[in-house]
């Protein structure tokens, strides 16, 4: 049984990859030999034309997949959010209903909190970790261990942290530490208070700090030694060097890290689904969206996804402008 699963997987890959290569080879061949052969009386014109068409042969599969899986859905979702289930109440009904819903407002607020806290904290810890490990003999091992959660799935990380937060004083590390300071019994850490969101954010910060650390550490290495030496000669202490000399020079990278994590935070779903699904106060937009999606309420689901899109929009515009200024 296992054999057949493996065989079908391998067959899939061979067909997929082989199929792609076959497509590229065959389409190029057809272009060069059948439609616009590089010989005969129009050889020169044909080569030019073929070269104008060829980029699109290379791009076609990617553009098709991107179009079908990302571009079309963006517009389709927008369309559905103003047409699906709005019979009574005008095109904006889905939006007015979700905004009238307490839980949605809590989710929106929580999402804002996540976006404010997680990127800031991850970047901050990442920066500290990058600076600390920079010149340590065992810095690479330390980095590796702090970076490791990056490989762990959000679901796995949620399990790991649920265990840390376990309400039993004999089981959960947090409660055990409270015990060291004299607490006699454990407390339920995640019990649906609005501040419990921060406990869930810790999980994502734990995962993302390594990402921030790796990138910022590379950026720190790029800071020219002369500027640091000059500052030290001027009598600056280590903190001054770090905050006044190094950090300003890598500000560009810090912003990139920050925005990258911000985008990720807006998509996060797994952590709340695994750790706080039962508490209204911990809801975020993606969990709300999935609730409506699962119960088949496509109007509300698409309306919420459009709201998420609107939240991402500023980052998107900024990213595109950055990229354009670089390619020029």
């Amino acid at each position: 049984m296992l054999d057949s699963v493996i065989v079908s997987g391998i067959v899939t890959i061979i067909i997929g990859v082989g199929g792609m290569f076959a497509y590229f080879w065959a389409s190029n061949w057809v272009l060069d030999h059948v439609f616009l052969p590089a010989k005969g009386e129009h050889a020169g014109r044909n080569i030019n034309r073929a070269n104008q068409i060829r980029p699109w042969l290379f791009l076609f599969p990617a553009m098709f997949a991107l179009g079908l899986y990302l571009v079309v859905p963006v517009f389709y979702s927008g369309w559905l959010s103003v047409t699906s289930g709005v019979a009574a109440g005008g095109w904006y009904r889905n939006y007015s209903e979700i905004f009238a819903n307490d839980t949605f407002r809590i989710a929106l607020l929580n999402n804002m909190l996540w976006v404010l806290v997680v990127p800031a904290a991850s970047t901050f810890f990442g920066l500290i970790a990058a600076q600390l490990t920079d010149r340590l003999s065992w810095g690479n091992i330390a980095k590796s261990l702090i970076f490791m959660p990056m490989a762990i799935s959000f679901v796995g990380a949620s399990l790991i942290w649920s265990f840390v937060y376990h309400p039993d004083i004999e089981i959960g590390v947090v409660n055990a530490i409270r015990g060291l300071f004299g607490a006699e019994s454990g407390v339920t850490l995640i019990d649906g208070d609005i501040v419990d969101s921060f406990l869930l954010m810790v999980v994502l910060i734990w995962i993302q700090t390594g990402f921030a650390m790796v990138i910022l550490s590379a950026a720190l290495r790029g800071v020219p030694e002369e500027t640091i030496e000059a500052a030290i000669i001027d009598g600056a202490n280590s903190f001054d060097v770090f905050f006044k000399i190094k950090v300003p020079q890598i500000m560009g990278t810090i912003v990139v890290v920050w925005t990258t994590i911000t985008i990720l935070v807006l998509k996060v779903y797994d952590i709340v689904a695994a750790m706080g699904n039962q508490y209204r106060n911990l809801e975020i937009l993606p969990t709300q969206m999935m609730r409506y999606f699962d119960s088949g309420n496509y109007g509300f689901a698409t309306a919420i996804s459009v709201v998420i899109m609107i939240l991402v929009l500023p980052v998107m515009v900024w990213n595109i402008r950055q990229a354009r200024s670089e390619t020029r």
């Binding site: 859905p73 963006v74 010149r135 762990i152 679901v155 089981i171 899109m309």
Partner: protein, 408 residues
């Protein structure tokens, strides 16, 4: 350089300590669950994982037969050992190897509250003494009847075991596995039984590998075109790809459910491969293009002069040179598809034949075995084992890819 380092020595101890604290905070949560996954189910609920090497007292109610009582000095006396001898046969198997009595009592309502060696009286007027080694002496003025029912906390010697992993992979505990084997079940049948994690493990692999390989091929061709071919609209296309990098996946769920329905793909492996391909493409194209643009121009120009076609340049020169970028995207995409919960819950059916591990853990294990941490811990490590292997083996490429993606 040296003199700077010299001025820092005063701070270096602080740096070492601060780093150590940071690393400990970062590693302890994972370590705790790892140790838990190796512990006995009963021990987990009794003591914290940091006490894994000490024994954990377990409460039991022992029913001790009184047939061996003798009359002595006007009293009816029963002397026996709770671990051994004929009375031991009345105990459950797993108590027999418990080495020590931690506490005992005479009422199940009060539980084991008496220290070993002390003497207490039961409701029926029987005085009972139990020693730590299990020696029991009960005495009563009248002949005892029925059984002596005594709650006791027994300490088992600590042990680390892989049983939890076997249990979560087959959905059978040791006894059930033995029974299944005696009924002629093969390992294959057990691994693929309905509630076992092994099936989802295979399914996760079935999702992740094609969903990693397919987008690489598609993206590599597109990235080459965007990097080295001239055509109108190239700048616009690059901007679109950058924009699509941040489009929230949620927007695609409802439309794609409908579109997949039309196309007859429905919820299936094919559907999720295509979805992961679509969602992974922007990053793949972006990373690979950034890398390919940086390849030395003269190699490619020379090849063109020599009459090589674009297809040949791509397959023979650009693709091999881009290996580091391909590898780093492959790692990203593999980690992402392996760890994904959201896309799998939308594009795959939830039945045993196709559910992936993340979803299995969230819906089946958290849903139906919520309090059983021996199962959850082992499941967590089955789930993260492969990504961790990939991570530690290929860290270099991962870092390189991340730097290519964000530092300018």
């Amino acid at each position: 350089m040296d003199n700077i380092a010299g001025k820092r020595t005063g701070l270096s101890l602080v740096t070492h300590l601060a780093t150590l604290v940071l690393v400990i905070v970062w590693i302890v949560p994972t370590l705790g669950l790892l140790i838990t996954s190796l512990r006995d189910q009963d021990a987990i609920s009794q003591t914290g994982w940091w006490r894994a090497l000490q024994g954990a007292p377990q409460p039991y109610v022992l029913s001790i037969p009184v047939d061996d009582q003798v009359q002595r000095d006007g009293l009816w006396v029963l002397e026996t050992n709770v671990f051994a001898g004929p009375t031991g046969e009345a105990l459950p198997d797993d108590i027999l190897d418990r080495s020590r009595v931690d506490a005992f009592g005479t009422s199940r309502l009060r539980g084991p509250t008496t220290e070993p060696g002390e003497t207490v009286e039961t409701r029926d007027g029987v005085t009972v003494t139990v020693e730590a080694n299990g020696d029991l002496r009960a005495a009563a003025p009248e002949r005892m009847t029925g059984q002596l029912v005594l709650p006791m906390a027994l300490v088992a010697p600590p042990q680390l075991t892989l049983d939890n992993y076997a249990e979560v992979l087959t959905d059978m505990n040791t006894a059930e596995r033995q029974q299944a084997r005696s009924m002629g079940q093969q390992l294959d049948d057990m691994l693929f039984s309905d509630e076992a994690l092994f099936g989802p493990f295979v399914n996760t692999m079935t999702v992740a590998i094609p969903a990693t390989v397919i987008p690489i091929v598609i993206a590599a061709f597109a990235a080459y075109a965007l990097a080295w071919m001239d055509f109108p609209g190239r700048g616009l296309l690059i901007a679109v790809v950058v924009g699509l990098l941040v489009v929230p996946l949620q927007l695609a769920f409802v439309p794609l459910t409908i579109i997949h329905g039309w196309l007859g793909i429905g919820k299936s492996f094919l559907g999720i491969w295509l979805a992961h391909t679509g969602f992974g493409l922007p990053l793949a194209v972006y990373l690979l293009r950034n890398y390919m643009v940086g390849l030395p121009r003269d190699i490619i120009e020379n090849a063109k002069v020599d009459g090589a076609t674009d297809f040949q340049i791509f397959t023979k020169i650009v693709l091999p040179l881009s290996f580091p970028a391909l590898a780093s995207f492959a790692i990203f995409q593999f980690l992402w598809t392996w760890n994904d919960l959201l896309v799998a819950s939308v594009f795959l059916p939830a039945d045993t034949d196709s559910t992936v591990m993340t979803r299995f853990v969230v819906t089946n294990l958290l849903g139906s075995r919520g309090g059983e941490w021996h199962i959850l811990a082992a499941a967590a490590f089955v789930m993260i084992a492969v990504p961790l292997l990939v991570f530690f083996a290929m860290q270099k490429y991962l870092v390189r890819g991340m730097l290519a993606g964000s530092v300018k």
